[in-house]
């Protein structure tokens, strides 16, 4: 009798352990995201958060990835690179994530890169500057177009309009400064000369002194504003207030309806390079991106009641590239997933068609950018420049 009890007890324990092990085999895949949901980059980070949450829910509802559910852990860095770094460390050490999709701004991304490189966790960034993928780092990828591509798209358009002398007014944040550096570097290749430069702090509320200086330079034929968040909105308002007649170009950092809301009628006539997502319904039917961008933009609008922005689109691309890589890698093994991300080919996303390689962790070319002009408070497509 005594022996029987012991046998039964042992059997029960073994069964319990087997069940427990079985349960842990379908443990969740943890995806971390450090986003700037509040602060000066909030109109980038907020749609990113909503998009990631939306699609994680959708993927989980369809059964997850390789039978495993996804768990999304989001932290808000408030636009501060120091906070981003702290949260990145927490994601790696405490939450033990398998992959990371995030880094709303260039500043926060650059701060977090060393953390993920050391921990050997694949990191898909949602920020703009080219330094994120050049030089290529083994574990770091990105989905948004680079600032260098934005400069080139703008210069191509300027050339088409026969404008060669420009002034640059840049934000002193990492992205604004980085794009300004890229524009200055590639300008000679396009026959463009930068005749004047000004800058402003990302939280400044009045740029009229800087714009006055630009207006007084008689040889300026166009103005390029590099930056994101509220700065460009205030620059645009000041631009119209001072009645500076020459064309104004913004960067893709303002690719959100909120910019138009804040800048008001001053935004009419402003041109910017942006992803096809913003003009989803207006694309020609044979455009490869049209089904993807229309589907995303309708889903986003329905779920959140807000107009779609390219930043949410970059988050969508990041999540989809990661998930497809995990499916190809048959699991969440970090090294295998990283290899599969690098092998992404022909992925049609909201930002363009992605073809990554060991030397290209972005995978987009200039055709992924469209030149848009704002008319009557809405985006319109400008016929492509011969770039």
């Amino acid at each position: 009798m005594f022996v029987l009890h012991r046998v039964l007890a042992t059997a029960a324990c073994t069964l319990a352990i087997a069940v427990a092990t079985g349960l842990s085999a379908s443990a969740q895949i943890k995806i971390g995201a450090v986003l700037s949901v509040t602060g000066p980059a909030s109109f980038l980070g907020d749609p990113e958060k909503k998009t990631l949450e939306m699609y994680v829910d959708e993927i989980n509802a369809k059964g997850g990835v390789n039978g495993q559910k996804l768990q999304l852990i989001v932290y808000d860095d408030g636009g501060d690179a120091n906070n981003a770094r702290t949260f990145a460390t927490r994601l790696v050490e405490e939450d033990k994530i398998d992959a990371m999709v995030g880094g709303t701004s260039t500043g926060s991304t650059l701060a977090m890169i060393p953390v993920f490189e050391d921990a050997q966790i694949p990191f898909i960034s949602l920020a703009g500057a080219i330094q994120i993928v050049q030089p290529v780092r083994k574990w770091v990828f990105k989905t948004p177009h680079t600032d260098k591509m934005a400069c080139e798209k703008i210069f191509a358009d300027l050339k088409q309009r026969h404008l060669t002398a420009i002034a640059i007014i840049s934000g002193t944040d990492a992205f604004g400064k980085s794009m300004r550096d890229q524009c200055v570097a590639v300008a000679p290749n396009w026959g463009i000369t930068v005749v004047h430069e000004e800058s402003y702090g990302p939280r400044d509320s009045d740029m009229t002194p800087q714009l006055t200086n630009i207006r007084n330079k008689a040889d300026v034929q166009a103005v390029v504003n590099t930056g994101f968040g509220q700065g460009p909105a205030i620059v645009t308002r000041g631009y119209r207030q001072l009645n500076i007649g020459v064309p104004l170009y913004e960067s893709h950092g303002v690719a959100s309806k909120q910019y138009i809301e804040l800048a008001g009628t001053a935004a009419d006539g402003v041109r910017l390079p942006a992803a096809a997502l913003l003009v989803a319904e207006k694309l020609p039917d044979n455009d490869l991106q049209k089904p993807v961008v229309v589907a995303y933009s309708r889903a986003y609008q329905q779920k959140t009641g807000q107009a779609v922005s390219t930043f949410g689109g970059h988050a969508y691309d990041g999540m989809m590239i990661l998930v497809q890589a995990m499916q190809r890698a048959q699991g969440a093994d970090k090294a295998k997933v990283r290899d599969e991300i690098e092998r992404t080919k022909g992925y049609v996303g909201t930002g363009g068609i992605v073809n990554m390689s060991p030397t290209d962790h972005l995978g987009l070319d200039l055709s992924a950018f469209r030149m848009l002009e704002i008319k009557n408070g809405d985006w319109t497509l400008v016929p492509d420049a011969k770039s």
């Binding site: 907020d46 000004e198 009229t208 002194p209 800087q210 006055t212 200086n213 008001g264 001053a266």
Partner: protein, 290 residues
């Protein structure tokens, strides 16, 4: 010349906001020796409340009025629940309490409002006026006019009413004021309420130009504090002068020198004043009888 006028108008506009916030600092400091670092939050609350009431469908003038009243109530609540219970604490403790209150109000704003940037329509339209070659927004003139009106009203209140005299008496010597029957607690509460109201009005007037979000109060409070120190903490006229001068220094340095260091101007001024001229431009020296 046109350039100079442009910088001047930009400097005076932002300077008026600094002046009004600095005035709030001075009022509260005079009555209670407390430097209220939540002052910037009053500006933020005035602007954000108006935006959200307007979004909810309330007509703009009424939304602005309600926003000012709500902010005044918050100022009173700040005094009643945070400052008054700690009235015997040291000055440093009281300052820390106000910093804590400012963080609390910022957090509250994030939850009650949202984390985005908002604007208000300009009262007289966005078409700038051409004055001597400079393009001046009508809203700038509204801000300047509003600031002047508030300063005049405040001066009339302080100088021409019994309650105003009581405020001065409390500022000069609190114990003596109590001895002659002035309820100093109510006077200090009044100073908080007036500062909050002034801040809220400034917020409503300037939001069409500078936009607003839940965290505009922080930097504003620090700069306005620098302005109050520049003008001489304790002097109301000094606060106004300090605010305008700081605004103009920022605009001129951004225009003529470099726009990169615009924010640094306020801090350089603060350091210079604290090191070389702690009394500020118009502050009265402390006279002690030995």
């Amino acid at each position: 010349m046109a350039e100079f006028l442009q910088f001047l108008s930009s400097g005076l506009t932002v300077g008026s906001v600094y002046a009004l916030v600095a005035l709030g600092f001075t009022l509260i400091y005079n009555a209670s020796n407390v430097i209220n670092f939540a002052q910037g939050e009053f500006v933020m609350l005035g602007g954000m409340s108006t935006v959200f009431l307007a979004l909810a469908g309330v007509p703009l003038p009424i939304a602005a009025l309600i926003a000012v009243i709500v902010t005044t109530a918050i100022g009173l609540a700040l005094y009643r629940f945070a400052i008054e219970p700690a009235r015997d604490a040291s000055a440093v403790s009281l300052i820390m309490i106000t910093i804590g209150a400012s963080i609390f109000l910022r957090g509250l704003a994030q939850v009650v409002f949202d984390k985005r940037f908002h604007s208000l329509p300009m009262i007289f339209g966005a078409e700038p006026l051409r004055i001597g070659g400079a393009a001046v927004l009508p809203q700038s003139l509204v801000v300047l006019g509003g600031a002047t009106t508030i300063v005049l009203l405040l001066w009339a209140f302080i100088d021409r009413t019994i309650l105003g005299k009581a405020v001065i008496a409390t500022a000069v010597n609190r114990l003596a004021a109590r001895l002659v029957g002035i309820d100093t607690r109510r006077i200090i509460g009044l100073s908080f309420a007036i500062s909050a109201a002034i801040g809220a009005v400034a917020g409503v007037l300037v939001t069409p130009i500078t936009l607003t979000s839940y965290d505009v109060g922080t930097l504003l409070a620090v700069k306005a504090f620098a302005a109050a120190m520049l003008g001489g903490i304790g002097s109301a006229l000094g606060a106004v002068v300090g605010g305008l001068v700081l605004g103009m220094l920022e605009a001129f340095s951004a225009g003529y020198i470099s726009s990169k260091y615009k924010d640094a101007v306020a801090f350089i001024v603060l350091l210079a004043v604290l090191l070389a001229m702690p009394r500020g431009l118009l502050g009265r020296g402390k006279i002690e009888r030995v």
